[in-house]
Symmetry: C2
Subunit: 300 residues, 2 copies
């Protein structure tokens, strides 16, 4: 789900290496960031594309309104991490059952984020069905923040709580009465991203899980991140802490700011930025040297 | 394949009506045009998104390099019809067999059109696999031309020849030695589109077939188009003329200019624009009142 085409498998690695060779311009940011940034006259455009695939990203029997909402939210979250206000979206839609619900969920999400639909394509095909969305935004602050700017000495911050999407997923999977809203209707941290953009040294969303995404920020920034395991607030019971730190889809923002600076939005200080050590990530002082198994592996 | 989300089936009609309601801004052009036009400062951005689906748009056993080429060409053709120079593309890619070939074909096509890869998403899933591409361009001329500007009294023109893609498709389908290049590696008329943009009253590509796309231009422009059946040059034998006029994927440009004006690119005058009559299209004087069965129905 990462716009940065990050890898999971060997085949994907090979393909992504080929894509990186193609995406050699500065605007693509080496496909290492959440979104592309295209300088155009006075403006900096932010562009991101996400795909959802039935059976891979979408639970069987999902409400199509929720699928549409999530498609919008994943894209808007990438805009949020760039401090970009949405200009519009293009939709690639595979027709099928529940299209009326899909249209309704899409309408609700686009209205929520005040992002107009600009165009797209409708096709037949599947199962499995798949959907694609491109979101275009305009950065409110220049230079546009990225994940690679964390500086040793900075503090590491996180908006919101972790684990709500996990709990929602499990409620749906197990058919319990627990609230699944956070999984079905994730909220991109758009206002927070817009407010943070001028102040952060690095920022990204944690849609693939806090630990995996922190690992990536550390590698991109060529620093080490030291995370206090007990610091991130949880939306679930304390015994699920390790799961919550690895699960994704919470769409919170992870960011760094100079020590002593206070973020203008609700956020929790969860660690610090250290000079690049022998591991990108330290969790309560324990080194994490390998991203394998670190994050959310049930989605590509 | 049309960015304008044009309809084929009743289910698609319903869905597209819902999308039109969402795409109420002027930049979406009511989803009736080949691409969205987003005014941004001094620039007009042109945005288009196309999807390809295995088994629907892609023949079984296709060379993945050709699939990637076609994905790029279909998008660039929409930019061409808006007189827009490519700024970049985002790719939604479903991983699978032939990814190395896909990457090679993508590289060749992006290089050909000088369009950098900006980003995208890779996912697992399928079969059937699907791919999406968003192309972004900058219009070289304002106002950005569209399909709805044809004026009674204008002449109707067409670049190139018709039927080459059809012949290529049949060669592949039947396993003959005939040249299939035009089907596998279509050429978007980008230089022609850039040259024509300041001069035309209406323009669009004929990727869904000359007659169907002419019908759409007539409806969008609220005129009638009178086409001389014998006028369009053919890349195939004369006895295939009716097929060639209905087949798609030739990616030629159909455009209107004031009578007496000569286009700056090789093109053939194939008819004229008349005041809106009782049919949108007249072929050798015979009215065509219904778009059903008019164009290329084997793709959605």
């Amino acid at each position: 789900m990462k716009d940065a085409m990050e890898n999971r498998t060997s085949a994907e690695k090979t393909f992504i290496a080929a894509m990186r060779a193609l995406a050699s311009g500065p605007e693509a940011r080496g496909l290492m960031d959440d979104a592309a940034v295209l300088e155009l006259g006075e403006d900096a455009l932010v562009l991101t594309h996400d795909m959802l695939v039935e059976g891979v990203h979408v639970l069987p029997g999902s409400d199509m309104a929720d699928v549409a909402w999530k498609l919008v939210a994943t894209n808007v979250s990438d805009l949020a991490a760039k401090g970009a206000e949405p200009l519009g979206a293009l939709l690639g839609h595979m027709l099928g059952d529940g299209d009326e619900d899909f249209a309704r969920g899409l309408s609700e999400a686009l209205e929520h984020y005040r992002m107009p639909l600009l165009g797209g394509d409708t096709v037949s095909g599947g199962p499995p069905r798949s959907w694609g969305m491109t979101a275009i935004g305009r950065a409110v602050y220049r230079p546009v923040p990225c994940r690679s700017g964390a500086q040793a000495g900075d503090a590491l911050w996180l908006t919101g709580e972790l684990g709500a999407a996990m709990a929602g997923f499990e409620a749906l999977r197990d058919g319990t009465d627990a609230d699944s809203t956070a999984y079905r209707r994730p909220m991109a941290r758009l206002p927070e991203g817009l407010a943070l953009a001028p102040l952060v040294t690095a920022i990204m969303d944690v849609s693939d899980g806090l630990l995996l995404d922190a690992f990536r920020m550390a590698e991109a920034s060529e620093v080490s991140l030291a995370i206090d395991r007990a610091a991130p607030p949880l939306a679930v019971a304390e015994e699920r802490r390790d799961d919550a730190l690895r699960w994704g889809e919470d769409y919170e923002l992870l960011f760094t700011m100079p020590a002593g600076a206070a973020p203008p939005v609700p956020a929790t200080r969860i660690g610090s930025v250290e000079p690049q050590g022998f591991a990108p990530l330290f969790l309560d002082g324990q080194p994490v040297v390998n991203a394998d198994g670190l994050g959310w592996q049930h989605e590509s």
